[in-house]
């Protein structure tokens, strides 16, 4: 009796263990199932066009990809120095007491729902940027990038800090023994030693930004425009995620528009897969942590 129930429990635990592979495959399968027929309905040349105007049957996804990239790149430019700087402060400089306050605060930021950040974006950030930069509208790529920076900072801080923590203390001691100052040790020894981990942190931060939906949808103004120089940063844009979120509710199931939205989902899914798998193998190569799921 004991043996048969033990066997049963072990068996179900084994099945549960593999469930994540099943779910990942299911996600891909159902995205393909609903989205792949796009390729039969819209010729590639029409898909890779610069006009997104579904009502007229124009399904050019380039402006959406461009929108996602503009917002993401800009957000990383903000989040990289802030996130890595904060990680260095927490990991290498801050006294214990300050650390104990800072770490939970960054976790608080990770916990704030993106819709709340979007709300702040609409009511506080956008009006502020509009007045400060004298723009016709505050709902721009810039507003989206600032919010995305806030969203990706916790990921960057926590993974970069882990990477710094993984640098053996003997490295630091050796550097001090050579007469280097604390600051020289951080720049010359610790950061180079942790660079693959820091790179992973930034990659995963990019992943977060690229996939973020609500905050971006609420503050970027949602105009599908293509990148046209630096002025694009302070003009409204529309990202891939925002397009799916704002249009999926209104399309007829099975229509071309519906299929194209799923097709955009496939692109996003592949982007995220590439980012996550490549950064996780980067971690593995260094023999550091196995992978970071909780930010």
């Amino acid at each position: 009796m004991r043996n048969s129930s033990e066997k049963w429990i072990t068996r179900s635990i084994q099945i549960a263990g593999s469930s994540s592979i099943l779910f990942l495959l299911l996600i891909f399968l159902f995205l393909l199932r609903e989205g792949l027929s796009t390729l039969g309905e819209v010729p590639i040349s029409k898909l890779l066009a610069v006009r997104w105007y579904p009502i007229e049957g124009l399904f050019g996804i380039l402006p959406l990809i461009s929108g996602s990239l503009i917002v993401t790149i800009f957000s990383i430019l903000i989040a990289l120095p802030l996130g890595v700087g904060t990680a260095i402060y927490i990991g290498e400089i801050a006294p214990r007491s300050v650390k104990e306050i800072l770490k939970p605060m960054v976790e608080v930021l990770a916990g704030i729902p993106s819709v709340v950040l979007g709300f702040i974006g609409i009511l506080v950030l956008s009006p502020f940027l509009r007045r400060a930069l004298d723009l016709p509208t505050g709902l721009t790529a810039l507003s989206g990038a600032v919010l995305l920076a806030l969203i990706s900072i916790p990921t960057i801080v926590s993974i970069a800090e882990d990477a710094l923590y993984a640098v053996p203390n003997t490295y630091r001691d050796a550097s001090y023994a050579l007469g280097a100052s604390h600051w020289q040790t951080i720049w010359g020894v610790v950061i180079p030693a942790a660079r693959s981990g820091i790179l992973t942190a930034v990659m995963l931060g990019i992943g977060r930004s690229l996939g973020e939906t609500m905050a971006v949808m609420m503050v970027t103004g949602n105009a599908p425009t293509i990148f046209s120089g630096l002025s694009s940063f302070i003009a409204p844009v529309r990202t891939m995620t925002a397009t799916i979120a704002s249009e999926m509710g209104e399309v007829a199931t099975g229509s071309t528009h519906y299929h194209v939205l799923f097709f955009i989902g496939i692109i996003l899914f592949i982007f995220s897969l590439v980012i996550n798998i490549s950064s996780s193998s980067a971690i593995r190569k260094r023999g550091e942590k196995k992978g970071q799921v909780v930010s």
């Binding site: 263990g17 469930s19 605060m105 704030i112 729902p113 100052s181 979120a245 509710g249 970071q292």
Partner: protein, 294 residues
Amino acid sequence: MNTPFELGRRKVLLNKHTVQTLGFWGIRLVSLVTVLPILGIVVYIIAKGASAINWGFLTQMPYDGMRAGGILPAIVGTFYLMVGTSLFSIPLGIAAGIYLAEYAPETIWTRMIHIAIISLAGVPSVVYGLFGLGLFVLFFQFGISILSASLTLSIMTLPVIISTTEESLRSIPYSFRVVGLSLGGTQWQGIRKIILPQALPGILTGIILGLERAVGETAPILFTGATFFLPRLPHSPMDATMALPYHIFVISTQVPGMPIEIQYGTVMVLMVFVLGMNLVASLIRSRVRAKRQW
């Protein structure tokens, strides 16, 4: 080791200690710039939202096109979604974590499981929404319902629960397992009676963090379970529901003339709820660290 440093036309030699002082202040400044918005957002929302919160706001139905009354259906809906997500993701996540920490051999398959978990954690939330729409709403014909939304959120929550379970099980010393086996217990008895109770606080932290994320997410429930407005509470898991995050999106972008107090009040309710969970998780974690004897 002095660093030459251009200042105007004169070349100044900066002492390494001066460089260090400047550098440290730079880093402190950067950290401050990171932390201030966090504090600012939390304080600002509480300051603006607190006046809207009263018993009626939390327990009444909305009326007058949601421009008056309370937000009860959104609170209840979010609660239902949390319960639904827990029912599915907690047992499955813990079981998968146990498998990876206690049973899984060092094989390619196990590595693939780990890669799948990392990948699942990185899938954009709106893609989870598409997946839920394709699989649960349309293929299984659960419709736009609490059930579909909970299942979608569960799969999104799973990686967090699996990896924290695995991590906290792995932190239990090997000797604990040997003791169980040497007393004549089976592997499963050892896990259930010795290992799991020790790892429970860590697992609990993971569950709370996972659910915290699920509760705050909007994109996965957009097309799987959330509804703009429901004049009553949902009756069954097959009903669509209002939910706090989606409600915030609706009242801040879709309803013209929405009183600003109601908006801030609703945001504050969600934020306090989510940060409360965050706080509980940190408390559990720090208590365990303090009590651990091995």
